[in-house]
């Protein structure tokens, strides 16, 4: 049925700072959602012409395709160090790194901690879906105890593989960060909360406040072997028990 929308108000549309490219993510994956929220934030703050995005290695390796912004694709785990170099070279530009749990909390552990500890005035988006999506569903540092992955086929055994790392809590022990928060996207309320958090994390940088990190509990329906709805439910009921939502650091709130 054709709809005449000319006389209506558009209440939701694609952010201007995103390109027209279709996302390459699996159906129901939250990466697209996070990308949309970042795009909306860049629009609202009017910073597209001075924002530089950093794409990691992982499912978001193509992140540079989605934004109408300058962007870099960088080595696995090094996004926070590259962001440091970029931001120090151009302090008046807005730099955000987009990193998965393997990138940020495993191979990039040192770079992540030390960028936070220096209080780099950057915005880090840390996407925690508790699994390595791109390489085929292997264990992540954040994989839950007894969660099955292709490298923990009997379920993650803490006796041999340790426990899921609450990386945001680790970083919250540092003196420098101004904002560290954990958010989720499993229902519209969380989506709206997460949107506010991401906006705050960018606004902090615009205001020169310092290091801001938004950890987002994301889903991987494909490698979790769940439907998108089941995956959301899993985050709501199970993942949030290990990774509680909320602000860990919020200075000058």
């Amino acid at each position: 049925m054709p709809v005449d929308t000319a006389r209506m108000t558009k209440v939701f549309s694609r952010p201007q700072s995103l390109t027209e490219a279709h996302f390459t993510y699996c159906p129901g994956c939250h990466h697209g959602l996070i990308t949309r929220i970042i795009g909306q934030t860049i629009d609202e703050l009017g910073i597209a012409e001075r924002t530089i995005g950093i794409a990691p290695v992982g499912c978001a390796v193509f992140a540079y395709l989605w934004y109408r912004c300058d962007a870099l694709q960088v080595a696995h785990g090094r996004a926070s160090a590259v962001a440091t170099g970029l931001k120090r070279a151009r302090p008046d530009r807005i730099v955000f790194s987009y990193q998965g749990d393997g990138d940020f909390a495993s191979i990039g552990t040192a770079e992540s901690i030390h960028a936070a500890n220096r209080g780099e005035n950057i915005t880090v988006i840390f996407v925690n879906n508790q699994i390595y999506g791109m390489t085929g569903g292997e264990m992540a540092p954040t994989t839950l105890v007894s969660q099955r992955t292709t490298t923990t086929p009997e379920g993650r055994d803490p006796a041999t593989t340790g426990y899921p790392i609450r990386f945001s809590e680790l970083l919250a022990q540092l003196d420098a960060p101004v904002y560290i928060t954990r958010q989720a996207l499993y229902d519209t309320r969380r989506i709206m909360d997460c949107t506010k958090a991401i906006k705050k994390a960018f606004q902090n940088q615009v205001d020169g406040k310092g290091y801001s990190l938004v950890e987002i509990l994301s889903t991987c329906p494909t490698n979790w072997h769940m439907s998108p709805l089941q995956a959301n439910e899993h985050v709501a009921t199970t993942v949030t028990k290990v990774f509680p939502l909320g602000d860990l650091v919020n200075k000058g709130a």
Partner: protein, 74 residues
């Protein structure tokens, strides 16, 4: 109640169904029609029920939905 309209970009939709679950008015449903990528895309099943709350669009990971609302209440 305000009246809203949801427009689905059938080629962006991957048929994940998150929007269907998010809609409080049960406006959306799977269409049974496949797009070029082979996904069963969502369509507007109950247009009159839409209030233009945009929960569906907020939830959509592929930005496949646009939402409009009438300028004045009817």
């Amino acid at each position: 109640m305000p009246h809203g309209v949801v427009v689905v970009d059938g080629e962006r939709c991957k048929g994940c169904g998150l929007c269907i679950a998010a809609c409080p008015q049960k406006v959306l449903a799977f269409s049974g029609a496949l797009n070029k990528s082979g996904y069963d895309v969502v369509h507007v099943e109950m247009p009159d029920a839409c209030v233009g709350c945009a929960f569906c669009a907020l939830t959509c990971p592929d930005i496949a939905l646009s939402v409009y609302r009438e300028k004045t209440r009817t």
